[in-house]
Amino acid sequence: MNSYVAGHRAIRSPAARLLLLSVSALAMTIPVAGAARAASLTSIDYFT
């Protein structure tokens, strides 16, 4: 996270920063989608 923030601040071009913000916003949705998927698990066990 720290290196990402540092890299973000280093970008001076407004267009580049806008693009980066879009990518960043997209990236932020991934964990949310992942969390929704991860609300279930598959399992296997046995009986004798």
């Binding site: 279930s40 698990l41 399992s43 066990d45």
Partner: protein, 355 residues
Amino acid sequence: MVKLLDACTAKTGIKIDRQAVPYPQLVQKVLLAATSQSLPDLIMMDNSDVATLADGGIIVPLADVGISTDGFTPSLVAIGNYKGKNYSVQTAVNTLALWYNKDILSAAGVTPPTTWDELKADAKKLTTKDVYGLAFPAVATEEGTFHASPFVWSNGGDFQTLNSQSNIDALTYLAGLIKDGSVSKSAVTWSGDDANDQFAAGRAAMSIGGSWHIPQNSQVKGFNYGIVSIPTPKAGEQVKVPVGGEVWAVSATADKATAKTFVDCLSSDDMVLQWAIDRNYVPGKPAVLDKYKAAVPTMAPFISSTAGAVSRTSVLGTAYPKYSSAFSAALQAVLIGSKDAKSALDEAEAAASGK
């Protein structure tokens, strides 16, 4: 099992899509799923199968998932070790003890034996025309090895070097019980359930059996039984026992954070306690032992025995089945008297090690 999973779903909000298969199919099914990229996230397997799935990269070390085994009995945690890493959580275990028929022993003036000498003498004294002094299963499978292992380990032996003097002495001792007539020759055909059936039917005064027999034996009307630790070679020694039961592991393709959350729930104190009570297993967490003993007092001998728990597979890993198979073949040969213990175990060692 359903009760346990439902309880953790209620606690974590994580739903489980569960598949249950017959025991002999589980490893095969998981290996097949791995080839088709359809591994389940969580795998509950017999603890003797950990090495096989760890070796194949099917399950991942607990440390990679962030799952801690803090709070569990160290000797039981070691059961999930393979090549220096821990792969599974065993929340509770089953093991073996010496069951005895209180009425038969009392009538003969015999108290439960604590040493090998006492066991031999008592088994002989308790043997009559209709009743054998002792029953134990010695079928030529892993079950035979499992039930003989307390005698091997408690005598200082192991399954890595099959023809050690300690192993030779242990097998010679067991064969002596049959030679004395104190154990039926049919033991070589008996599974654990068969030996327990003999005991529960009053045809054996004592039996080497597991905690999983408690539900069945407690239902037998008028059956007045007791349970103590398996005798050791000398008085006061800690018996070494195998521990069976199921472990939880996380597959290589699982969502690690979700898997960790769910396994952490399965490993929580209240879940460990409930699972142990429901299954007649010994809980793997000392923190819940007092509550457990109060709830299931008949399990006391099994609890004290697990202090000497030994992993069957943590040293031999995937080679264990080969050594176990060779050992059980030797056990049979010695018990039926076709070979002496040294010859049988020399052959077993050669067969297992390929030397």
